[in-house]
């Protein structure tokens, strides 16, 4: 077994070179390069986490934007509906007043016309009474040869006409 048979001649060389090469590996590779490799991994993990957070924030912002837009559009729709309702009410009011005015005019004309008709009718009735009285007087004179007092004739006619 050379490990034991050669122990006396080789142990110092083995230990020396082991320390030299392990020292090289530890200080150059372990202390020098490994932290850089791990820093790269760390940086990548952080980058990924940052990107994910940014994406999440962007999503939240988009959601908020949409929500704000919805609220705004709802508000504008309500405003528009209020304007329409107000216009409708105003128009209804205006047409009502105009209708009322026209109605009143028509009513006045109607009343005037009715008054005229009534006047004409009473005028005509008086004329007929007068004519009838004269005619009655004449008829009495010719038939009976009596001269009838105009007043009596008038009264008689009135009685006969009005029943």
């Amino acid at each position: 077994m050379p490990q034991i048979a050669q122990l006396a001649e080789t142990w110092s060389s083995q230990i020396f070179w082991m320390l030299v090469f392990f020292g090289f590996i530890f200080f150059v590779i372990g202390r020098g390069m490994v932290p850089k490799v791990m820093a790269t991994v760390e940086a990548r993990d952080q980058q990924i986490a940052k990107d994910l957070a940014a994406a999440e924030a962007a999503r939240a912002a988009a959601n908020a934007e949409e929500e704000a837009w919805r609220v705004e559009s709802n508000r504008q729709r309500a405003e528009a509906q209020a304007v329409v309702a107000k216009a409708k009410a105003e128009a209804a009011k205006a047409s009502e007043t105009r209708l009322a005015k026209a109605n009143a005019k028509i009513e006045a004309k109607l009343a005037e016309a009715e008054a005229k008709i009534a006047e004409a009718r009473s005028g005509a009735l008086k004329e007929i009474e007068k004519v009838a009285a004269e005619a009655a007087g004449d008829i009495v004179t010719r038939v009976a040869g009596l001269s009838v007092d105009a007043k009596a004739a008038n009264a008689a006619v009135k009685e006969a006409l009005n029943g």
């Binding site: 070179w17 590996i25 590779i29 390069m33 940086a43």
Partner: protein
């Protein structure tokens, strides 16, 4: 059967100085650059190339970067699961440990023998694994005593121990704690050596079976070869598992040091 003796399953673990450096010394201690050192260097360079390929630092990683980040993430998760947030600072150490052992184990399995080169698995030497184990244990001790001062000794007295049992439990826990560096280093060394010995023994069977001529020999060779293929797959698994076990146990021991119980 003279040829059978030529296949020595232990020969592959022999350490040889290379490039005429066998006389290099520091303060009287030999530091020859051996084939073992060479494969440590190869593992280190391969790991450097591997990690450097993943250093493009792109936001959308390519395959290579993905692979490197997979390993760092794996170690990071291991430490987060076993130690918690305090485990983050041990990532460089556990990553170096895990990757160095993994690369060493896997490179030792590369069938370079086909082209005449001789791969050497330095994790099959307890002098090498021992360094790593002692280093891990030393870090556990330093962190433990730094963080908890002498209160660290309460690690050896589990909660709810009856008063009369405390001396006994303390002794048992202390021994099991002190055995950790040995079990840590020996486990890796034994697992790697056993696998390589097994492969070598089986390959010896294949060669000797063929040399034995017609008869039962070739049957043994074919069966051994099939078994070798299966064990090669198993060894790849063991290479990964042993690296993982080393890193996992180190992180568990560090958890003791960080959080006591």
């Amino acid at each position: 059967m003279a040829e059978a003796a030529k296949v020595d399953p232990m020969h592959q673990f022999t350490i040889q100085p290379m490039f005429g450096t066998e006389h290099w010394q520091i303060a009287g201690y030999n530091i020859a650059f051996t084939n073992s050192s060479l494969w440590m260097a190869i593992a280190a360079v391969a790991l450097l190339v591997f990690v450097a390929g993943g250093m493009k630092r792109e936001l959308v990683p390519g395959r290579w970067q993905m692979a490197v980040e997979g390993f760092t993430g794996f170690i990071d998760n291991l430490l987060a699961a076993n130690i918690g947030p305090a485990g983050k600072k041990y990532v460089p150490y556990i990553f170096s440990l895990f990757m160095f052992i993994l690369f060493a184990n896997l490179l030792g399995l590369v069938p370079l023998g086909l082209v005449g080169a001789h791969p050497f698995t330095f994790t099959s030497h307890f002098t090498a694994t021992g360094v790593l184990a002692v280093m891990s244990f030393a870090i556990v001790l330093i962190v433990g005593f730094w963080k908890h001062k002498l209160h660290f000794f309460s690690l050896f007295v589990p909660h709810g121990t009856p008063l009369v049992m405390i001396p006994l439990i303390f002794a048992i826990e202390l021994v099991s704690f002190l055995v950790r560096p040995f079990s840590l280093g020996l486990r890796l060394f034994v697992a790697m050596m056993a696998g390589h010995v097994l492969l070598e023994v089986l390959s010896g069977f294949v060669i000797n079976g063929i040399n034995a001529g017609l008869g039962i020999g070739p049957v043994v060779s074919v069966l051994s070869f099939v078994l070798m293929i299966a064990i090669c797959a198993l060894e790849l698994l063991v290479a990964g598992i042993q690296a993982y076990v080393f890193a996992l146990l180190t992180s568990l021991y560090l958890n003791d040091a960080e959080n006591l119980h």
